[in-house]
Symmetry: C2
Subunit: 355 residues, 2 copies
Amino acid sequence: MAARRTSTKEPNAAGSPVSMADLARELGVSMTTISRALSDHHSIGPATKQAVLRLAKKLNYQPNHLAAALRKGKSKLLGVIVPYIEGRFFASVVHGIETAASKAGFSVIICQSGEDVAHERKNIETLLSAQVAGILVSVSLTTQDFRHFEKVRKHGVPLVFFDRLVEGDNVNAVVLNDREGGYLATRHLLEQGCRRVAHFAGMQHLNIYKNRRQGYLDALQSYDIAPDESLIMDCNMSLESGANCMAALLDLPNPPDAVFSAGDSAVLGALQLLKSRGIRVPQDIALAGFSNEALTQVAEPMLTSVDQRCEEMGQAAFRLFTELVAAEGTAFSQRQVVLQPQLFVRASSLRQDTV
Amino acid sequence: MAARRTSTKEPNAAGSPVSMADLARELGVSMTTISRALSDHHSIGPATKQAVLRLAKKLNYQPNHLAAALRKGKSKLLGVIVPYIEGRFFASVVHGIETAASKAGFSVIICQSGEDVAHERKNIETLLSAQVAGILVSVSLTTQDFRHFEKVRKHGVPLVFFDRLVEGDNVNAVVLNDREGGYLATRHLLEQGCRRVAHFAGMQHLNIYKNRRQGYLDALQSYDIAPDESLIMDCNMSLESGANCMAALLDLPNPPDAVFSAGDSAVLGALQLLKSRGIRVPQDIALAGFSNEALTQVAEPMLTSVDQRCEEMGQAAFRLFTELVAAEGTAFSQRQVVLQPQLFVRASSLRQDTV
DNA sequence: TTGTAAGCGTTATCAT
DNA sequence: ATGATAACGCTTACAA
């Protein structure tokens, strides 16, 4: 046991990391053997394997993913870009992604674009430099130019959009059937006997808001009701915006008897305004929102809303990524996964006691 | 322009990444020059530098952070471990961290422990393997054994705790002054004339809940009120738990006239139960919570609550990390950053019209 | 079953 | 101001 320090390089000192070379030297075998033992290669003696594993544990060996990734040309890092991480929707989607990813051995790098294209472009650069295995993104509100996404494709990095898309259909994406969601909510209001249903519409260049509005129109049509442009309000989905839109609608010569909002905060704003004016919900005006945020169950009356399956969306996005990786060489058929929305009916829209 | 394909290696084909070697070959200079030009080294001719940068842009050169990190032994990755990412608090802290980190050129790897130590241990392994430059963590509820954090220290990786700590003070941490928060809320209830203030207490092995409770006791003492054990309820901070605790308190021979809850959901549960029984808030029972969640402003009446400065906490945690890096060689003095809580007084606790 | 050695893309040391 | 070359820690043909 005196014959230790015989190697050319000094063994690791105090805080320095222990590498495969260290294990090899200590055990008197080659690095190949170490590598094989650790990666559970088939051609490896069970005895040596045990010895390697034991020593690795004893010396607190920590594999260096960076080095492996560099050599293999493939990392176990996954890039995710969201406009911001706060708020139930994106947080839940990220939760879903991270859970699925970590199960498959991937680590998630999170980036926020802050609803700013410039930032989004920088995020892409960063992720490509980090050599991520794939990028999952929900585009910012201000994204109109898509060259930075082209770049990702050029680098051969799998790209999956979720919820918010870029224009054009030749992309891989996981989306909610927003149109169906808009239809379900509006149809429900009509079934409750409402006949002048207003709509708080979001920015129409975003697929999600465009589709929710379309679903609203579909529902009206199914009841043979001609859409009334004065009932369709431009809304940025904030609480204040919702209150303002509601106030404007009340000033109409012929106000609505229901509102379907493309977002929950706005419908809460409307509710607060209505209550402040002594207008009853749902008796005088029925309300329905979109996103099924936590606040819908705190408001009084509780708010009817369309659930976006946030977590499933995250899982689906990751699964689509893995499918893209698997289909690497294959003919590149773009895939779209569409999730079905679910309407949660609550007091804000229930005019009749009939279930 | 015909004399291109003269190199030993084929230039990059379609989707293959372009490396420094490619730039060097194309420009007829050495890799060293390329590296220097790109990293803005001082000894580099302005003309060559321009040429390199131009070519890099033209060929869409993307630096490989992995290779750089491997060589330098220092990555630009930062590991963050939270129990879960949903919910205003952690999402906001992560937001704060990511914003500060990306400004400083760091990418954030997000991990969720799911309130499970085993997962937390795995997260640590993953992050160490990813060669992160530092780890920021808020421990899981079930963490009682701290050896995995010791390992981080052994690997020489800076470690910063935020909000939830491990026992012992020889750690770097950013925390809220929870005791002060508990004091402020309780004191406020006392100032409103309440004399039997109950407390929904969280799990006492967690620093945050222990401190909030201590602040509650401090406030009682400042009013010379002896604590009544029957008014201190064990609560897991869920909506249901809050309702149950409230119900139990109402069954007391001498019920409370106020409740300070260590969490917001629980106080909402209490509010709902009180309303269902026709007990007025705040006239009969005043309420105050902790965290200043969004729901506090949706509930009716709006809920008084202690704000946790989530975003500042994230920023501070990142700043502490950078300070640790800067003080690498220096004597390792552990640092604790303490943030001051802020009480938001709302209708649920306002018995008097006096401001 | 095990060993040798080349190479991933970068940076750093030493020359020139 | 620029170049040649070794090294970071790992994987993987190719040999033995």
